[in-house]
Amino acid sequence: MNRDDALLEIDDLHTHFVGEGEPVRAVDGVSLRVARGAITGLVGESGSGKSVLSLSVLGLVPPPTGRIVSGRIRLGGRDLTSLSQKELRHVRGNRVAMIFQDPMTSLNPYLRIEEQLGEVARLHLGLSRAAARDRAVEMLDRVGIPDPAQRIRAHPHELSGGMRQRAMIAMALLCEPELLIADEPTTALDVTIQAQILELLAGLRDERGMSILLITHDLAVVSAVCENVYVMYAGRILEQGPTREVFKTPAHPYTLALLRSVPRVDRRAGVASGSHLLKSIEGLPPRLDAGPFQACRFAPRCDLVRDACTRAEPTLELREGRGRRCVAEPDELR
């Protein structure tokens, strides 16, 4: 990954939730780049800090307990962590947009699509009511909603789930943001709609050079559309690199374990034939409120654990565009 064409650069970000006692280290030293015009995947299980990471980018870590303790988040070279709330509001929706997991609840049931989309356009682009409406129709058309001039008069409950997610995407695209953060955009949709939405996202990247940070726990989604992938675990990136390579030759035991725990259509699962057997990862993720990690955070669940793993947390080892935090030899991961 070339450093120069990165749109979003996150450096050593620490986002903690501070209460009584030890803080919860939800994001614990994450560095991540989203290249211009590319879809970058961020995978990890529930509670690994993916969503907190995306909220950090938007300056929306819930106060008063949540805060960015250290690190930098730069969008096109500009540091977002030093912006005021007012400046951040201008960034949100305008330069960075976000779409959520559940399109059923992401639209206000009391507002027509027209009003919901229109107000974003008026807010950021200063358009008149009529111009905002035209813009909204144009966007709905762009995301593949048939008969947009008619549909725009609908209330959310009158649209199907896939349609609502398209409307959400249209809303996110109104101001032509440079970066789109998609937090589990397809999780609540059935597979055929999922494929259409992913296709739509890939199309938007191609035709407008939009950068997308795709947050998901679905490995199939990542392999379908992401150029690069980051694997997050317990607040930290354990492995990163081009999706193809990472999935083909995972360099971290966690990635390997993740891949082995997912059924694949082209393989028969459940047959006792070695690597084809679906394997769950034993144990639970570590607590994030037990002080700084002194050992590899995956060690308690790792098959390849050794003394070195419990003495210190492995440093990020970068080689040929790939990176991992592990001391095991690559050959051991076959």
Binding site: L58, V91, G93, A97, F100, N108, Y110, L111
Partner: protein, 284 residues
């Protein structure tokens, strides 16, 4: 905004119960405010020869212990009750909704302070509070309707604030609010555009319940000599007082109760209809 309002109107007009409620309410209101002027009805003139007369051609609703025409008293009394109910409810809705929405949306310390304020006033017996507020006004002003409206409204908003805050607390976490925040909307915009429309149904229903509560409260105030003279509540109270097994002056209780009951029922129907009409998910 005009489009959904128009649609709501269409939905409201299709709700027969609500429409009937609105019509009866309008009729009662009209009678109370217009009829006494039109027919020169006088609720105050006493007539010792006509004490405790039952309903007749001369006195449709009968007369009371001082021989005053009961129809006039019921209609003029209705003015007070309706005005008090409306004004106090409007006050309570305005204050309560703003207070609750700001507290709930701000959360944290602001919420804490604002709601402790509400708790504090909740802790004081409301009658005591009403009397305190009334005492702020000069003695001559006390018999006027305005102090009573204010005093009652300023007590009623407490519950409204709590209800709205509770709603806003859950709404704030809803994804469409998050989506609005992510689109760069400011707090005022979010409260007005996204949160308030979603609490309207609860507010409308509670407001229709507040009107009767206020009307009854006012009658209690009248009983203590602090309310506005002559209201339905007061007439009912007088009517109840003269109920006895030997000599029944049933009309003294019946008429004001009928008017009061009909008004409250109509308000409930109307409130129900409004709630449905304002929700776009109701099919037109």
């Amino acid at each position: 905004m005009s489009a959904p309002a128009a649609n709501g109107w269409v939905r409201l007009r299709r709700n027969r119960a609500a429409l009937a409620g609105a019509a009866v309410l309008a009729a009662i209101t009209g009678l109370c405010f217009v009829a006494p002027l039109l027919f020169g009805l006088d609720p105050h003139t006493t007539d010792p020869a006509a004490r405790h007369l039952g309903p007749s051609g001369a006195h449709w609703f009968g007369t009371d212990a001082l021989g005053r025409d009961y129809l006039s008293r019921c209609l003029v009394g209705g003015r007070t009750s309706l005005l008090v109910g409306l004004a106090a409810t409007v006050t309570s809705v305005l204050v309560g909704v703003v207070w609750g929405a700001v507290a709930g949306y701000s959360g944290g310390r602001v919420d804490e302070v604002m709601m402790r304020f509400v708790d504090f006033f909740y802790g004081i017996p409301y009658m005591f509070l009403v009397i305190l507020i009334m005492l702020l006004f000069s003695e001559t002003a006390r018999g006027e309707p305005l102090p009573v409206f204010l005093a009652l409204g300023l007590v009623q908003w407490l519950t409204m604030a709590r209800i709205v805050r509770g709603q806003v607390l859950t709404l704030r976490e809803r994804e469409f609010v998050q989506a609005a925040i992510v689109s760069g909307a400011g707090p005022v915009h979010i409260i007005v555009r996204h949160i308030l429309p979603n609490v309207v149904n609860v507010v409308v229903v509670y407001a229709t319940l507040t009107v009767p509560a206020v009307i009854i409260l006012e009658s209690f105030l009248s009983f203590l000599g602090l309310g506005v003279k002559l209201s339905w509540g007061q007439l009912v109270a007088e009517g109840v007082a003269v109920v006895n097994p030997i000599q029944s002056y049933w009309w003294l209780l019946f008429w004001p109760s009928l008017l009061l009951g009909a008004t409250l029922l109509c308000l409930n129907f109307l409130g129900d209809g409004l709630r449905d009409a304002l929700d776009p998910r109701t099919r037109t």
